[in-house]
Each structure stands twice: as structure tokens, then as C-alpha cells.
Symmetry: C2
Subunit: 447 residues, 2 copies
Amino acid sequence: MRAVIVGSGAGGLTTASTIRKYDKDIEIVVVTKEKEIAYSPCAIPYVIEGVIKSFDDIVMHTPEYYKKERNIEILTETTVIDVNSKENKIMCIDKEGNKFEIDYDYLVLATGAVPFIPPIEGKDLEGVFKVRTIEDGRNILKYIEENNCRKVAVVGAGAIGLEMAYGLKKRGLEVLVIEMAPQVLPRFLDPDMAEIVQKYLEKEGIKIILSKPLEKIVGKDRVEAVCVDNKLYDVDMVIMATGVRPNIELAKKAGCKIGKYAIEVSEKMQTSIPNIYAVGDCVEVTDFITGEKTLSPFGSTAVRQGVVAGKNIAGIEAKFYPVLNSAVSKIGDLEIGGTGLTAFSANLKRIPIIIGKATALTRARYYPGGKRIDIKMIFNEDCRVVGCQIVGGERVAERIDAMSIAIFKKVTAEELANMEFCYAPPVSMVYEPLSLAVEDALNKLIK
Amino acid sequence: MRAVIVGSGAGGLTTASTIRKYDKDIEIVVVTKEKEIAYSPCAIPYVIEGVIKSFDDIVMHTPEYYKKERNIEILTETTVIDVNSKENKIMCIDKEGNKFEIDYDYLVLATGAVPFIPPIEGKDLEGVFKVRTIEDGRNILKYIEENNCRKVAVVGAGAIGLEMAYGLKKRGLEVLVIEMAPQVLPRFLDPDMAEIVQKYLEKEGIKIILSKPLEKIVGKDRVEAVCVDNKLYDVDMVIMATGVRPNIELAKKAGCKIGKYAIEVSEKMQTSIPNIYAVGDCVEVTDFITGEKTLSPFGSTAVRQGVVAGKNIAGIEAKFYPVLNSAVSKIGDLEIGGTGLTAFSANLKRIPIIIGKATALTRARYYPGGKRIDIKMIFNEDCRVVGCQIVGGERVAERIDAMSIAIFKKVTAEELANMEFCYAPPVSMVYEPLSLAVEDALNKLIK
């Protein structure tokens, strides 16, 4: 028996390790284009910032480690060019150009996503970078150093865009962020919450242009300027943080059913072809609240999917659940988190909601080091929590996790108001900020 | 209409403020023995430690503030000596010895708890202190300074005992902790988790004697030594952190029904006498898991009860729910939290359980500043989570809160394994430590 996994990101490697955890005998082969494996792409901005010393630090394991410790074979710098799902084999090409085939009993597509670069003039100039692989990160740093870059434009104010913007600013560059939407973090936060983040970044000296697209990138051989709203801004380099698209080419070649956005999978992470599984950014999932199909391009999602796929391949039943797309980002002194529905998306979908907000502190008022925390809770008509956004100086991620559980379990505002939040002056206020936001929503119902 | 509240702790003042929030007209009078109000007794150890500069800092509001901002009258240094619940009035005595009566429409008993001091020889010597009020805290500091104290015994290794022990150690004293139980934090953690805390404190230079009672305190006029296991230990002072007992004297005088441990109240925080409410450490509550009566002597509980009592008095329906007694403590570099059932108490009650444990980090392995975190999860026979204990360097409290919600909503291990935990390298691991503990429990079921 052999399981072949295409892709060495969080989804692929978690699947491989999970299969091995429950099945000591099956042969496991991971095929990956990349040279370095087992690193977290989310860490790239923090290496740019300098908090993490080197890109070498974010590589957790080598292929040799997987071979020796887990009996998992990893073929690096090898591209899978075709899948023959009738004969259960894949066609590969290695870095020397040698082509070869591998038979499989189970195939796992963990092909991830590819950066989406809008088709604008100048996108292929030297000095235009994407942020996806560790190689991208290394190239960005090298370019800054070799060209003594002083000014950079970051296109896209999503989490990665802002994390990169902050990292580049801390590295000493002048940073201009360009975002088409009228707010930063448009898919993540409502405008009122996004404004807190925007003001913080502006205070840190980052220039942000909203509601305008990047028109073109100007330069002879390399980036010299960007053009926005008919104005030229001199920059030495451009970071394209304009989102990603699921990489579904191999799935198509295999004949797997493609859904609205990406590869369709069952609860078991099985594609339409029973012995082909798919996990990570290349699959589509179900939105817990709306029941619609959606994407969930997060490392944490890929890990959970990898556990489910790996268990099922090893013969242990496991299911992947609909998602809330809970996410968190740390940008400088701010921790920013969100889960479930935003008011913005609720309005788009004409879902009636009740909002509760609170601004409080993360520790007792008199305890040193407490940080401001802003909370926005979204409840549906039945007064059940369906969304939460938090921006604060600390302790945001776990509060988002708590609210994710509350959303999954359809907890009501009244239940949440009574919920037990533990208290000690160094780690919380006696009246938990989440409870204050819940009370705010309840008060709107009284009036 | 007049509401009279006896006690100015978290429960009493929250009740007063909540009534005022929803009823602008009712007259509100708070009667308290104390001179200073609106402070958090939980903060005392941190002032001793020196993290908080002065006891003045932990006083949040003055009586004048309550008068001016909330139209709440506060009578300080005034003792309520009797209640006549037939005629709806209380008898008070002020610090000058003047006796007077106050009529009430609603009475709220927020009389708190009194320290329990075991009846041992020497307990009344100079240099023996309890830790309950801000005055106790001020007296401890004053005694240390005036007598140049160098050695202290802390009796009781509960949260307050250990917080005080750490604070006194940081203030430069030699500290001996004496605990009758065979572990520290006996009502809070299982022995395996408590051991992590014990080892940390011992590494910090605190001496801990377990499984032995304090036999006597020795001294002529003032403390000179303590005797444990027939041995004398020279100390300059003794801190009695030997627990508290509900203060139910007034409730008895009023004729309120007393339950197994303290004042019996309804979900609305109403006593057996309809216009008398009670909140805080003086009432008994229902344990969510066992359904038995229990105590919940936490500031956070008192606040939630105060909100419920206040709303009901103001004519807005609200209910107080059964408790898990979620709690957290910060001792030096350790954050320690627990909620629900421990394995120890499950065994005592013969409740079959499944345990899942994990040791992990609070940030991605390569991200600087990550701390070790140890998690123990308790599941019942149906594989639903019923308890969680966490000891770690950061981010413990909110994880406990998340697990409290999970326990309240009877979440299964399988659901928890699929639960969405948000991820970013600076604030979490891609595989959430809670999920690792859940997987550990699930693995035990497979085998």
C-alpha cells in the first residue's frame, strides 16, 4: 500500500504524519516542487520585520527528519505534471528534468494556492514580489539589501499585506499601502474595527491609500514608481499581496469534481474520486453560518483537514466540519482577530443582526501593562452569536477561539452574559470585556 | 422606593450600579463596614509583590464618585447589626457608635465571607495576619517594614496563599509555605498539574511543606516561630491563607433560609424572603456538572450575580446559571487556570472519565518569547468535556474561558478536535495545544 501526497505545506505534511501515526506499514511519499519543506509561510512577514532572525529559523524539519523519524519519503524540487486516476499513478519531473511515474493506492492533493497577480502594466518588472514561499521571502530580503531599497509599495491591505507593510517599515523602509476597498482588512473586519488598525499603522508612519486600485507599475527594467489615482509615487520595490487562488490544475487533470471555487471534497476530505483526497488551500469548504461554499486559506484549516484526511486513509473515521474562518494577525503592538459573520457581510446577505460593542482593558485597570481591547459581537435575530471581531494589545486569539466555540454551539446572548469568565487582576478585568459587549447588545433589545 | 445593599465588595457595588443603570429613580444606599470601597482584594498579593506600586492604586472609586456619578449613597465604616424583615428595616451603627435604622423596599445581602482561622495555639499573636481586606494588606506591609521582617510562614497553599508567598519572596523575605494537603492548589488542580507549580515555586526559592498541618505558632508577644511536624521554624510573621467561610449572620437574623453551605438563593438571586436578595461569597450556588450545591467565592462570580440581582430589582428578568468555578491565578511567570471537574474530584464522586494531556508552546516554535504550556482535559463517559486545567507562561485565562463555554455546551471530544482555533505564529501554534490534548484523549479511545 502506498499513499502519495502532492504538496509539502501544512495540509500535505499533516496528512502524511497523521497517516503514519495510525498506520505503521503503509508507504508514504510526499512530492513537492519546493526545496525547503515544513515551514510556515505565515512567518515570512516576521522575518522581514526582524523579530525572527533568519528564514532558516522558520524551517521546522528537513526531508531527512521525515525519513528517519517518521518513515516518510519526501521528493523535493519535483513537480507532478500529470495524474492518471484510472491507473492510479502520477507523472513527475525532477529538477534535472528526469520524468518518472509513481503508483499510488491513495493520492492526496495538497497543492495549495497560487498568488493572484492582477494583470496590470509593469507587473513583471524586476522588484515586483509576491509573498507565498520561503523563496519569495528570501528574494525580498536579498533585493532590499542588494539594491539598498528605501521605499516600497505594498498592494493589498489584507492580513499579509499589512503584516508585510509593518515588517518593511520596521526594517527601515518607507511604506505605502494601496488598497482598492475603502478600508484595510476588508474581508476580515468591519469598517469601524478596521479603522482602529488603520490609525495604528498610520501612527507608525505607514502611508495608506484606500478606495483606489494600483493603476500601473512604472520602470525601465526595474520598479521605479507606482501609479495610483493618476499620481506617481516613487518606490524601489512592490509587494503584491493581492490574494491567492486555489491551485486546482492537478485535480482537473485527475478528473476530480471542481466546485464553485475549488476542489469539492466530502466531510472525509475525499474528492469525487474515492481514493483521491484533497486538503488545504486547494479545496472548498462549507460556511457554518450561511451554508454556502467558501474558501478557508489558513494554515490552521489545512492542519485540521490533514488530520481528517490522514485518519480516514488510515481507516479511522473522522469528519471535517463547516468553517467560521476564524483568523488572527499580529501587527506590531496590535493583535487582530475575527470569526464568523461580519456586520458588512450580514448586510450584504440581508441577514438581520444585533451588534454589541465594548472598549475595555486586558488587565485590571490598576495592573501595569494592561492594553486597550475593542470588541464587536454580532448576534442574529434569535440573539445567537454569529460573529466576533477583536482588536487589542494582547489576548485576542483565545477570545476569538472562545467565541468560535460559542458560534458553533449557537450560544445566545443571554447565555453568554452569564458565561463564566475567569478573573485575576494580571490577566483580565473582573467584568470580562466580552461580557460588556454582550451586555451592550442585550441593552439594545431592552430599549 | 429604596434599595439597601449591605457590603461594598464586587457583588454589592455591581448590584448597586446595575440597579441604577436600569432605574434612574430608585434610591440606592450601600452600607459597609469598610473605610475604603471598590477595590479588588485579589490585587493584594500583587501590591505585596511590588508589581502594583501602592494599595492606593487598587481603589477604583471613592464613595463621592458613587454619589456624584451614579447617585448611589455609600455609608462607610457602618455596621449593620440587625435586620427586621417583617418591618423592612435594618439597624446600623456608625463609627462614632450612633445607632440608626434604614427602611428598605429591597435589601441586598452582599456580606461576603470571613477568613477561617484554624483554632491553633498562637493564632492571636502579633504578627499573624489574614489576607482579606485592603486593611489586611496595608497592615502586612507596615509590619514587614516596622519590624524589618526577614522570614515568613504562609499557611495554606491555595491560590491566595501561593500568590502571597511569591509576592513576599519578591519583596525579599524568606518564605515557608505549609499545606495540609499532599499538593499545592488542592481544590483547583490535580496533583500532576500542581507539581508543575510547586517545582516552579521551589526553583524561585520558596520552601514548601506538604501533607502537614501547622501545629502551633510560637512566640512571647509576637510571632517567633511556627511548629510543623514537631519541628520549629523561625519566622517573623505568619500569613493565614486558610480559606474563608460565608458570612451569613445577617441573613440568619433576617430569617432567610440557609442552605448546605450558605444563603440559599433562586436563579434571580432572591433569598427565601422575596424582597431580600443576596450575592457574592455569602450565597451558595449549583455546580453545573454534579448538580450539587457549592460555593463560588470569586470576584467574577460576584459581579455576574450582582448584574442578575440588579436587573431583577430594576424589573428586568435575568437568571444566574450553575457554575463551573472557572478560576485563574498568576504567580510569577506562571498563569494557572482551571474549570469544571478535576480528575481528583471525579474519582471522589466515582464519575468515570477519560483524560487527555499535552505539553506544547504558546507561540510557533521559531517565534521568540513562546512559553511552555501544559494542558489537562477531562472528558466524561460520553466523551463530553467536563474539566480543563492549564499551567503555562501566557494565554491561559482565555483558553480556560473557551473550555468553560465548551463544558457549558456539552461539547464532545470529536467536536473539539474539529474546533477552529485561529493561528498566527506570534500568538499560537498552528496545531493548537488544546487540540493536542483532545487528540490525546481520542487516541486512548482508539486503543
